[in-house]
């Protein structure tokens, strides 16, 4: 009984690591740029497909392919910011939101044309034999995915807290005009933030794509999950996205194990509704930040 519970929690944490990566990207983009990135799921999907193309089709080394895939998604993010979002910066919040929805339609249908809609699996170089620790079994690729997710989260945190660029991002987050007056190149920060958020989504997609399946619509559900994550944690809140992601992963894993797998994907939103009754601004959000 207990072993089963622990097994669910471990699975949930690994899944939650992926959600947290998605959530951090989304929350950074919203916090700094005031853009709800409805194309986040498609950036996630691109990460998986870039890895699939580089590794499975072109035969690159798995790790090099992963790095290149993430870099590729970051590049896509930078281009999107430069060509679309920069022009919409002064518009009310729903305009960039709908532009990102339109972009997600474009990217997803382009992916269908390029890679066809059938699900693909990535034959990663890890052994399919599960690692066993007492009563718990985890396949190696999942351990790898979990470890990379943790490393990326910690890396992102250190980057934002310790580097000059990270400090400029935090300054822009707090007060864009003041940051600009202090000599921060806000245009560059916006572009970098979107590319960075995109890279995190792409990394999450590459990791979960290697564990599960790769297909053009895989981003839809992932995007919904990451929305749930950022609402739980409070929009614009870094720590909140991590806690929200892990919480959602574990809750889903337990829910699928003990309640019903059909309703697994609803758990996040039911959690949100319960949370809102208790704390309308999210777990860590401050009142008024949502505006």
């Amino acid at each position: 009984m207990l072993a089963e519970l622990v097994q669910h929690v471990v699975n949930g944490l690994i899944l939650g690591g992926g959600y947290a990566l998605m959530g951090i990207g989304l929350t950074l983009i919203f916090g700094i740029m005031r853009v709800v990135n409805f194309a986040h799921g498609e950036l996630f999907m691109l990460g998986a497909f870039f890895l699939y193309t580089l590794f499975s089709l072109w035969g690159l080394n798995f790790f090099a392919a992963s790095l290149l895939a993430v870099a590729g998604v970051a590049l896509v993010g930078a281009i999107v910011e430069r060509l679309i979002l920069r022009r919409l910066r002064d518009q009310p919040i729903e305009i960039p939101m709908l532009a990102m929805v339109a972009l997600s339609v474009i990217i997803q249908n382009a992916a269908i044309l390029i890679w066809d809609p059938s699900p693909k699996s990535i034959r990663h170089p890890f052994s399919p034999v599960p690692l066993t620790l007492g009563p718990i079994h985890v396949v190696a690729i999942r351990v790898f995915a979990g470890a990379v997710a943790v490393a990326l989260i910690v890396g992102a945190h250190l980057f934002i807290q310790k580097t000059r660029l990270g400090r400029a991002m935090r300054a822009t987050f707090q007060d864009t005009d003041m940051a600009r007056l202090s000599g921060v190149d806000v245009d560059r920060i916006y572009m970098f933030t979107f590319a960075f958020g995109a890279a995190l989504a792409g990394a999450s997609g590459a990791l979960l794509g290697a564990v599960f399946w790769v297909y053009p619509a895989m981003g839809d559900l992932a995007a919904l999950k990451s929305f749930a994550v950022v609402i739980m944690g409070g929009l614009g809140n870094f720590l909140g996205a991590i806690v929200g992601g892990l919480l959602l992963g574990v809750a889903e894993s337990l829910g699928a194990g003990y309640i019903s797998s059909g309703y697994k994907d609803a758990i996040g939103f039911v959690l949100i509704i319960l949370l809102l009754l208790w704390r309308p601004q999210g777990l860590f959000g401050k009142r008024g930040l949502a505006r």
């Binding site: 729903e94 269908i112 609803a266």
Partner: protein
């Protein structure tokens, strides 16, 4: 105005004649779908007028469809009854969701509504006993008029039925958007705090818009169910809501006709794109992106440019300082003080921003609340007007205890404030700014607004007259049709004062009215405040400009570190040693905390 009515009549006649002119069934079907999407987009537009984008709107479409369909299948009821029942069920669902979410703003609201639709979609997929799950629900009866003998069979029948529903929707949304209710919704979007302080409850009006929108969506769903006779959980899909949102934004959000234009264009565009075969959705996405990027104001805005620009309203003669109808607070006794504050305390963490403050404002009195920066003056104002809750103490307005009431209710009673920072409705004309703030004086209810009753029109005209008087009084009579954000800084302050006078307050709270004004403007402002008192109002003001305070006020209360240190006439205050010490410091080496 005349030509617009003619154009409208011509478009209506053409619409009604289309089936008779022998339009193909395929196009009739598309027009019926246009009608359905118009109902959905019009509702979404209504809520968006208040700044709330419901990206789970399709959930209410689906709820109405399944409710009406299931009632028809299981109980054999005529769609004539099940369709309104489904609409009501959708309305109740909207009310429940609204109670949970309408406190949220911006992106939070958007994301939570998406989540709601997703949960409902999963329920519809997984509750197979009720909905047949992903297989879909077949065998929904076609629409009939109470008995099966009068069943609607042809596309033409459904075309006329949806025309009736769409016409009713157009009328309803037009009445709501162009009346005081529409002004209240836009006020919530443009400046929620100012709306509340003008007596408009943001929650009540967003809820009204939400429930109306959901009833419309439920109606559209019920119609769809009996028209298509097959339902699947796809109805709850996000893509559906996106289509509606695109129709609203591309058509022209906040406008009456925008959703109709959007529904027409974006029902036909995907059909035309069928020629592009595999590239259809790719092209569709590209068109969406281009429309959103380059026409964010919507098609209606660009169509209007072709039409004649509206004739400028004739401007009356300047009547600066003219009298206006001040009105009086509701249900107050003439005896006693106008406002009394007893022992209020507000703590932020360990710091007492206001500490045991008591003050009385007499009828017809001008009382100043002064003190160094951070003395707690604005906090005291926020407590009195309900924007901040006090940890202790009571606030009485006339005979009524108003402690802890929400701002809009306090404003409804006739206690109205002006904000320290310039606070206006930036995207509306000066006239509309003040008209919006007249909200609490309206006596005609929702029914009067919807039927455009005589009383409603009469009231509207009377209010516009009164607003013109108020604008003339503050000296903005010649600027009534200008957008508020285009006014100069000083004019915006005066507009703020006019907005505060609009709800006919009996007590006016002014938070640094002279901030940002030059010496000449300040002198004029003093004259205005004196004039306001002349109209029978009592005034409590916070001000740093000592010339204004000493020259205008009957009494002065001085705050320092949240504590009242002195109270008296201007002459007494100027000599008060505590006050001099608070403002100028002492010769002591050790500074006081």
């Amino acid at each position: 105005m005349r030509t617009r009515a003619l154009w409208g009549a011509a478009a209506g006649a053409l619409w009604l004649a289309l089936p008779v002119l022998g339009v193909d069934d395929y196009y009739l079907h598309l027009l019926v779908m246009t009608g359905i999407f118009f109902l959905l987009a019009a509702g979404m537009n209504l809520l968006l007028a208040a700044g709330q984008l419901n990206l789970g709107h399709t959930a209410f479409f689906g709820i109405g469809a399944y409710a009406s369909g299931l009632l028809g299948i299981h109980y054999g009821l005529s769609p004539l009854w099940t369709l309104p029942a489904g609409a009501c069920i959708a309305g109740v669902a909207g009310w429940l969701l609204g109670m949970l979410t309408l406190k949220l703003r911006g992106a939070y609201f958007v994301l939570v509504t998406i989540g709601f639709a997703e949960v409902i979609r999963l329920v519809a997929t997984n509750w197979t006993d009720l909905t047949q799950g992903p297989m879909g629900l077949a065998g929904v009866p076609p629409f009939n008029l109470a008995t099966e003998r009068f069943t609607l069979t042809s596309k033409r029948d459904y075309y006329y039925l949806i025309t009736v529903l769409a016409g009713a929707t157009l009328w309803t949304t037009a009445r709501l958007l162009t009346s005081r209710i529409g002004r209240a919704l836009r006020a919530v979007k443009e400046n929620e705090a100012l709306a509340e302080s003008s007596g408009i409850s943001a929650y009540r009006y967003t809820m009204l818009a939400m429930v109306t929108a959901c009833v419309l969506a439920g109606t559209a769903g019920g119609f769809y169910a009996h028209y298509i006779t097959f339902l699947s959980p796809e109805l709850f899909g996000f893509q559906n809501t996106v289509t509606m949102a695109v129709m609203v934004v591309a058509g022209g959000q906040g406008t009456v006709l925008g959703p109709a234009v959007g529904a027409l264009v974006f029902t036909f565009v995907p059909e035309l794109l069928r020629m592009a075969a595999f590239y259809r959705m790719l092209l569709y996405g590209a068109i969406l992106l281009l429309v959103v990027m380059f026409m964010p104001q919507g098609l209606v805005f660009y169509l209007r440019r072709f039409g004649a620009s509206p004739a400028p309203t004739p401007v009356g003669p300047a009547r600066d300082g003219a009298a206006f109808e001040a009105g009086a607070g509701v249900g107050e006794s003439p005896a006693g003080s106008a406002l009394s504050v007893a022992h209020i305390t507000v703590r932020f963490g360990g710091l007492a921003a206001v500490d045991d403050l008591s003050l009385e404002l007499g009828r017809g009195e001008i009382l100043a609340l002064i003190g160094p920066n951070g003395a707690g003056k604005s906090t005291a104002f926020n407590v009195i007007t309900g924007f901040q809750s006090a940890d202790a103490g009571r606030v009485r307005f006339g005979a009524a205890d108003i402690t802890g009431e929400p701002p809009y209710r306090i404003a409804e009673r006739g206690l109205v404030r002006m904000f320290q920072r310039t606070s206006i409705f930036p995207e509306s004309s000066a006239l509309d700014n003040v008209l919006t703030a007249c909200h609490r004086l309206a006596r005609t209810g929702l029914a009067g607004v919807l039927c455009m009753s005589r009383a409603n029109r009469f009231e509207e005209r009377g209010q516009i007259e009164r607003v013109r008087d108020i604008l003339a009084f503050v000296g903005l009579g010649h600027k009534e049709s200008e957008l508020a954000r285009m006014l100069s800084c000083g004019e915006q302050r005066l507009l703020g004062l006019a907005i505060a006078l609009a709800p006919a307050p009996s007590v006016l709270l002014l938070d640094e009215p002279a901030a940002g004004l030059n010496a000449v403007e300040t002198v004029r402002l003093m004259g205005l405040i004196e004039g306001i008192r002349g109209h029978g109002l009592s005034v409590l003001l916070v001000e740093h400009d000592m010339k204004l305070v000493m020259g205008l006020c009957d009494r002065v209360v001085v705050l320092n570190y949240g504590i009242k240190i002195a109270e008296g006439t201007p002459a007494e205050i100027q000599r008060h040693p505590e006050v001099i010490r608070a403002y100028l410091g002492t010769g002591d080496v050790v500074a006081r905390p």
